[in-house]
Amino acid sequence: MESRKPRKINSKWGLIAANFLGLLPLGVLVWAFWRNQLGFNPVETALQRTGQIAVVFLLISLACTPIRRLFKWPILIKLRKIFGLYAALYAFTHFAVFAIWDYGLNLPLLWMEIQEKPFIFLGLTALIILLVLAATSFRYWQKKLGKGWRTLHRLVYVAAILILVHYFLAVKGDIFSLQGDYGAPLVAAIILVLLFLLRFPFIYRPL
């Protein structure tokens, strides 16, 4: 009983901090856009930054479960959802920059690019998954879908893999020989593999 009160305060501040963290990059981006500080190729900068931020929030969201298990922080189950929602938000912003700002909603051209370029198709598929998960992340759907909800939300692993492939294909180089501009996606991939491994009981139990 006594432990409940501090935990509640803890959780309230945790939620505030998570939302602050979630909105901060958007604020920085909008501010930079406003002040004309997105560099010489602002569309490219905005595309890269929103994509990278989406990856970071997705990884943070996926880190919540293993960390909660290891350190027994129950609040992380709530933060998992919040960070997941921000990952979806930035992924959507990423797409909006691509479709609206970059291609001026030129639908025939967009359709052509989606068909021609596998990495765009993969990214779009991942975005749709994230949006479905975001839409069904609320208690109403959790109750309504029952056991199916868990299964549905496991699709986040599929989305994460698609996004990483999308990231690797989006940088210059050859994915098979790993010769190219692979620094950032490589770091993301290593973290993702680690987070996947930490989900296997035979790995996290001994920890």
Partner: protein, 313 residues
């Protein structure tokens, strides 16, 4: 700008260029009839000047492009030996030592020779060439280079009959290039041209831009510019030019041959798995049509007679 470098370029294009540069007149072209759909795209640059014999003059009075600003040209570059961050290259390259410098020209030539930069600037008349630069990443610029046709230098060393290709090698100075040690790229940067491409009058060795010596991030002190090919062919900070009998290995073609062909001619009809064939002109908004051979087809198409340019991309 610093005019006290040892080989400042003796031309002031600021007096020449502005009158040729008119407001961009966007021309909307019906184009891209893919899967039966017609997409609308503006043309970036229908008429950027093709050089004449005289220095710095474009023949066509109907120029339709604005020069990209000096700040953008020098602040947004690909030079992976320094960093893969295009807007960080200028800072990382500032301490790159470009003087003294010499370019070894060897291989299948009668008179192999190491040219010092002083010799190059003294022996070859520097002229202004305003070229479009189209990066394979899908962005483009209009750049007033200062330089001279490569064929002048090649003629002086006299290629032998066996010489069929030209191999270019860029400087690799790891302790001055912090991006050179990542292990992710097989440096030194190499590029190549077929001999007839290298001898074409549009192909220049550039030593300056906007009337100034090249800053290090743009490939000081001397670089290649081949305006009808994607930017990665225009190798920077050249230390060696070798005439060779066979098609030489080039960096991007070695890494990912399925994406970066040896020819790498700008060709909107060859899809790229990553980048759009509609380009962004730096400093402008929206995307516009990419021109076949970057708009220089009339001048260079005869080089490729009888070749399938989709297979030989």
């Amino acid at each position: 700008m610093n005019h006290e470098k040892s080989y400042s370029v003796p031309i002031n294009p600021n007096e020449i260029t502005p009158k040729h540069i008119y407001q961009t007149r966007r021309q909307f072209l019906k184009q891209m009839g893919v899967v039966g759909i017609t997409a609308l795209l503006a043309s970036c640059a229908p008429n950027v000047g093709v050089p004449t014999d005289g220095p710095g003059l474009a023949p066509d009075e109907d120029l339709a492009d604005n020069l990209t600003t000096y700040e953008a040209i020098t602040g947004y570059c690909n030079f992976y030996e320094f960093t893969t961050n295009k807007e960080q290259v200028d800072e990382n390259a500032q301490d790159f030592v470009t003087s003294p410098w010499s370019v070894m020209v060897d291989g299948m030539v009668e008179n192999p020779k190491a040219f010092t930069m002083e010799e190059i600037l003294a022996n070859y008349t520097q002229e202004e060439r305003i070229y479009r630069m189209r990066c394979v990443e899908g962005w483009s610029m209009v750049i007033p280079w200062v330089g001279f046709p490569l064929h002048q230098l090649l003629e002086d060393v006299v290629p032998t009959a066996e010489a069929k290709y030209v191999l270019f090698e860029a400087a690799l100075v790891p302790d001055q290039m912090e991006g050179a040690n990542s292990g992710l790229f097989p440096f030194p940067y190499l590029e190549g041209l077929r001999l007839d491409e290298a001898m074409h009058d549009l192909t220049i060795l550039a030593t300056g831009l906007y009337g100034e010596s090249l800053p290090p991030q743009n490939g000081a002190p001397i670089r290649l510019v081949v305006p009808w090919k994607y930017g990665f062919k225009s190798i920077k900070s050249i230390v060696r030019i070798s005439l060779v009998p066979d098609q030489p290995p080039t960096l991007w073609n070695t890494i990912a041959p399925q994406e970066y062909g040896f020819y790498a001619n700008v060709n909107p009809n060859v899809d790229h798995p990553r980048w759009s064939q509609a380009e962004r002109r730096i400093g402008e908004t929206g995307r516009c049509e990419t021109l076949f051979m970057n708009g220089y087809a009339e001048e260079v198409l005869s080089l490729y007679e009888g070749m399938n340019l989709t297979e030989n991309f």
